[in-house]
């Protein structure tokens, strides 16, 4: 990959303001956190303005980039010397290029919409100001992650993102489930973070720098050995898996749904969880050098697609289903980027489209949950379309986009991934393509199930008084306020058109080409038309199955017991035993290890220290007796010392 821009132009003009992208939301967070209760009344306004102004600046920068030459669109800005130690120089700097700017637009754009949505959603929460402060902090961290021009800045953003995610998951910290989920997310992310940290250390050890330009230059120039480059790539992948909820580190993401729904939309669907994909695409020059690591990426993506789909079919909690849907969609992105230069742009494309429709779906789900008095169980929904038409339409568009309805976003982006997987060729190509295709079918099934159970069918709730409700929960659903429906409408429009916009005329692929490399038009295993039809058939199959099961037959308002369903369903209900697996493989041994270490510390280390302390104390007590208080003995000791010193020096002379 010699055409990779290893030297970035210096930022000037409007680009010298790119630091403001990060500072604006950061300032918002600072004002709201330091201002305390005084800013309670304006907190949501300040937070939203901070996010929106960052978005406006992002648009300006994007426009300015459009005005530049195609191969001159990567601008690096040096901010300050971060770690000026001799032999370890790290400068804090920003890189605005084709890849980071699309992330900036996604983060600030979707972020702003979700800020606006939260004004309504959190209207009655006493800690709304804190919520907006943490959301602003998240935006700043995420922007730092995508804008840094070296891996250490990226790592700082990466960790800050983890922190703000933690703070937001446990936002309702009086709920034990939320607190536990936040801890779980934090721990599992740490596992991935260690991978990223080690990768950065490897880079520094071999290249002597953590700057993108240096590291990628060295990787592309073949300076790093194959083993090392593979190790770095795999460690980066470990980091990416942690942040993006990929197998085997996916278990935290569904639990993170304990956070407020806007957070699920912003962090755990649209932006943060895609950081792993960003990392891999950003590190494309490294992954390009190692076929082995790319294979691992592909395998992880394929496993995760199926895993997310299967579990998504079994849950009745609307947010959990969406969460597993996210896991599986990011699996598609991993699959795409694991295919190498052919897939980087496709991964990003699907990521952006997914940012729109998944955020929209989550916001719609939030609207439903709001209307159903915070009940998240779809078995107690049904027939809601009549009561909340805007939510129904916007959610419906998001739903059609994700299952790949022709003309909508998912249709363009997911089809291309399936196509590229088949085009990989050979047995592995068929296998990957088949998995991706199967995933599309199952996606259609569980999303249709979710849609029908929520909006259609007979209402499994009652608006009557408790006496007339016949044991059904009493609900008074209503459409949400304008500040909530507005963002939903915008996102629905995005879900509808974004995919087409990206794909038609290769616009996004061309845009990303300097970063992601040229997508090679390989030999098609199937002609695109055949494949599109095949995908459609599979999707319709999934849809039909769900329609038969959940529309034509009544839905029980209580989930059938484990004994009445198939073994697969039981397994899926238990997250395919991922938690059990983690507990057995990581937690239990960890606990035993800590117990052993505590024992070792008590008996070994403490014993040594205590023994040493007792020994020294005894020595002290004995030596103390030399201090008799008599001048004569003091003088004697001085004389003795003097004789020793004289004797020693004479000895030295003699020697």
């Amino acid at each position: 990959m010699t055409d990779h821009p290893l030297h970035y132009a210096a930022a000037s003009g409007v680009f010298s303001l790119s630091w403001l992208l990060i500072v604006l939301p950061l300032a918002g967070a600072a004002v709201l956190l330091l201002g305390g209760r005084r800013t309670d009344r304006v907190g949501h306004i300040v937070g939203t303005i901070a996010a929106a102004s960052s978005f406006v600046l992002g648009v300006v920068l994007f426009a300015a980039l459009l005005g530049r030459d195609g191969d001159d669109r990567a601008l690096s800005q040096h901010l300050f010397s971060w770690i000026p130690v001799n032999g370890f120089q790290v400068d804090a700097g920003l890189l605005v290029d084709q890849l980071s700017i699309v992330f900036v637009l996604l983060i600030t754009g979707v972020g702003t919409l979700i800020h606006i949505y939260s004004i309504g959603y959190m209207a009655h929460d006493p800690a709304r100001r804190k919520f907006f402060a943490h959301m602003n902090l998240f935006l700043a961290s995420m922007l730092l992650l995508v804008l840094g021009n070296n891996f250490l800045s990226l790592y700082a953003g990466w960790e800050l993102v983890g922190l703000s995610s933690y703070l937001l998951i446990k936002f309702w910290e009086d709920r034990p489930a939320a607190a536990t989920a936040a801890n779980k997310a934090f721990y599992m992310n740490r596992v991935g973070d260690v991978g990223l940290a080690l990768a950065i250390m490897f880079m520094f050890a071999t290249v002597g720098s953590t700057g993108f330009a240096d590291v990628f230059g060295a990787a592309a120039g073949g300076v790093i050995g194959y083993g090392t480059v593979t190790a770095i790539a795999l460690l980066l992948l470990l980091g990416a898996c942690g942040k993006s909820g990929q197998f085997p580190l996916q278990a935290w993401l569904p639990d993170a749904m304990e956070g407020p729904t806007p957070i699920s939309a912003l962090i755990h669907a649209a932006t943060m969880v895609t950081a792993g994909v960003y990392l891999i695409v950003r590190a494309a020059p490294i992954f390009n050098e190692t076929q082995a690591a790319r294979t691992v990426v592909v395998i992880i993506g394929a496993i995760t697609i199926l895993l997310g789909c299967v579990i998504g079919c079994a849950y009745d909690d609307i947010k959990k289903v969406l969460a597993y849907s996210t896991v599986s969609q990011i699996g598609y992105m991993f699959l795409a980027v694991g295919l190498g230069p052919a897939g980087y742009a496709l991964g990003i494309m699907h990521l952006l489209a997914h940012g729109f429709f998944k955020a929209g779906l989550f916001l719609g789900a939030g609207s439903v949950i709001h209307a159903m008095d915070d009940d998240q169980d779809m078995r107690r929904y049904g027939g809601l379309w009549r009561y909340m038409p805007i939510t129904w339409v916007t959610f419906g568009l998001g739903y059609l986009a994700i299952i790949g309805f022709p003309g909508l976003s998912g249709f363009f982006t997911k089809d291309r991934i399936i196509e590229t997987a088949f085009d990989k060729g050979g047995t592995s190509g068929y296998l990957l393509g088949a998995i991706a295709l199967l995933g599309a079918g199952i996606t259609a099934f569980y999303m249709t199930r979710l849609f029908l159970m929520t909006f259609h069918g007979k209402a499994r709730w009652s608006s009557e008084d408790p006496e007339g409700s016949q044991g059904q929960p009493v609900r008074h659903p209503h459409e949400s306020s304008a500040s909530m429906t507005g963002p939903m409408i915008v996102l629905a429009i995005g879900s509808t058109f974004a995919g087409g916009l990206f794909v038609l005329g290769h616009s996004l692929q061309d845009w990303l080409e300097p970063v992601a490399g040229e997508g090679v038009e390989g030999v098609h295993t199937f002609s695109p038309l055949v494949l599109t039809l095949l995908t459609l058939v599979v999707t319709i199959g999934g849809f039909a199955a769900a329609y038969l099961r959940y529309q034509l037959r009544p839905v029980e308002s209580v989930a059938p017991a484990d004994s009445e369903v198939t073994l697969v369903t039981v397994a899926a209900r238990h997250d395919l035993f991922a938690n059990t697996f983690n507990e057995t493989v990581a937690m239990r041994p960890g606990q035993y290890l800590t117990r052993f270490l505590v024992w070792l510390d008590l008996v070994g280390v403490d014993g040594l220290v205590r023994g040493g302390a007792a020994g020294i104390g005894g020595l002290s007590g004995r030596m103390r007796r030399l201090q008799t208080g008599f001048v004569r003995s003091y003088a004697l000791s001085m004389l003795g010392g003097a004789v020793l010193v004289v004797g020693a020096l004479l000895l030295v002379r003699a020697g």
């Binding site: 020294i616 020595l619 030596m623 001085m638 010392g641 020793l644 010193v645 020096l649 002379r653």
Partner: protein, 524 residues
Amino acid sequence: MSVDNHLLLAQTQKITPPSIEYSSLSPLLIVFAVALLGVLVDAFASRSARRVIQPVLAGGGFIAALVAVAVLHGRRAVLAAGAVAIDAPTLFMQGTILVFALLSVLLVAERQLDSSGGAIVASAAITPGSKGSTAQRVSADMQTEAYPLMVFSVTGMMLFVASNNLLVMFVALEILSLPLYLLAGLARRRRLLSQEAAMKYFLLGAFSSAFFLYGVAFAYGFAGSVELGKIADAVGTVGKNDIYIYLSVALIGVGLFFKIGAAPFHSWTPDVYQGSPTPVTAFMAAGTKVAAFGALLRVFYVAFGGLRWDWRPVLWAVAILTMVVGAVLALTQRDIKRMLAYSAIAHAGFLLVGLAGTNTDGLRGSMFYLVTYGFTTIAAFAVVSLVRTSDGEASDLSQWRGLGRTSPLLAGTFSFLLLALAGIPLTSGFTGKFAVFQAAIEGHATPLVVVALVCSAIAAFFYVRVIVLMFFSDPLAQGPVVVTRPTLTFAAAGVGTVATLVLGVAPQPLLDLANTAASSGFVR
């Protein structure tokens, strides 16, 4: 020619007096003049007037001398016929001594410690237990001679670090020591302990001075001169009877090791630190250490520099023994002033580690360490003087129990100072130790640094024990009282504490200053 002719010749020869550059000696001369003036004031002014005039005079003199030191910066010369050397290390240490003296004057001048006034006795000549001693207990008077004595001592210290001649150095040693012997006996409370301390200090000090003088004699016997530069030249020449120079190194070393309180010449330290009035203890701990180390550095770098490979093993042994004795013996102390005394011994050991590096970095590190240690120790003793019972200071450790609950500010400050003495980061104790140990490692004295670190760990135990005692024990029912009025003591403690913090967080300016001084080196 007969003997008479010789005498005649000598008489007819004209003696040309050495030219003296008074400007370069101005800091010394100012302090000396102030001391003499102090004696006159004590003779003529009234009792009440003396208590005001004397501290102002002494403090003013120190400030004036400090200004003179600042003006002289960059001066580098051997003056007064080779007797005195003015160079960057000299000025650095003279300035340090003056700052510490200024802080100590604040402590001595304190009058609000208890009902009867400050830490200095009303009349030292009254025998404890005799008739007058009861009246003296409640007298608000003080022996104002303490001020001129202090100023004389400072003169000695400043001359000590500037001496370019072993005899002048001996004279300076006596000028600095004799007033200190007297000052040690001036404590207002526990008179017997104080007088015993003074007596011990005097006897042992005289003993060590004899060693020093004997060493000077051997040096003259070897080199035919007592000037440091000429001794250094003589070391290089072959064919001399070099046993003399080895004896000289050993004996001069003993005299100086005594002054810095290095083992096995340290035994006076705990007794004297405990018995002396606390302000005097603070002055001794900070000022004497700077002066004695200044002289030690100059003698061993300039005169005996050529022999460093021979005296290094001895220095290593003394350093190790000093650190071990200081750290280990402090563990079992029950008295807070004795504990700080052993801490001072341990710190002398750490300073010797810096000297063992025998390089410019070692010089820089030692000078920096002296400044940081002085500030911390003055502040620590100032805080100690604030915790009192009806019988003076509550120096027994058990009385400090639970002080963190009753006076959190005082206990917090003291904890901070103890952490600094232990060398915890973000205090000057850490930066100082770092500078010294780094120099020692670069000077190939790594084993010494390992010992120093082990001793630091042992020492940390007894510092932290006091903190635990103050914060995690219940206060005594009849506990000591923390006096809240003494502004001067507060000022001294505050300056010391702030310096400890600032030098821990932003040590670079002072390190640069010490570096400039060290790299310009000693003049010969």
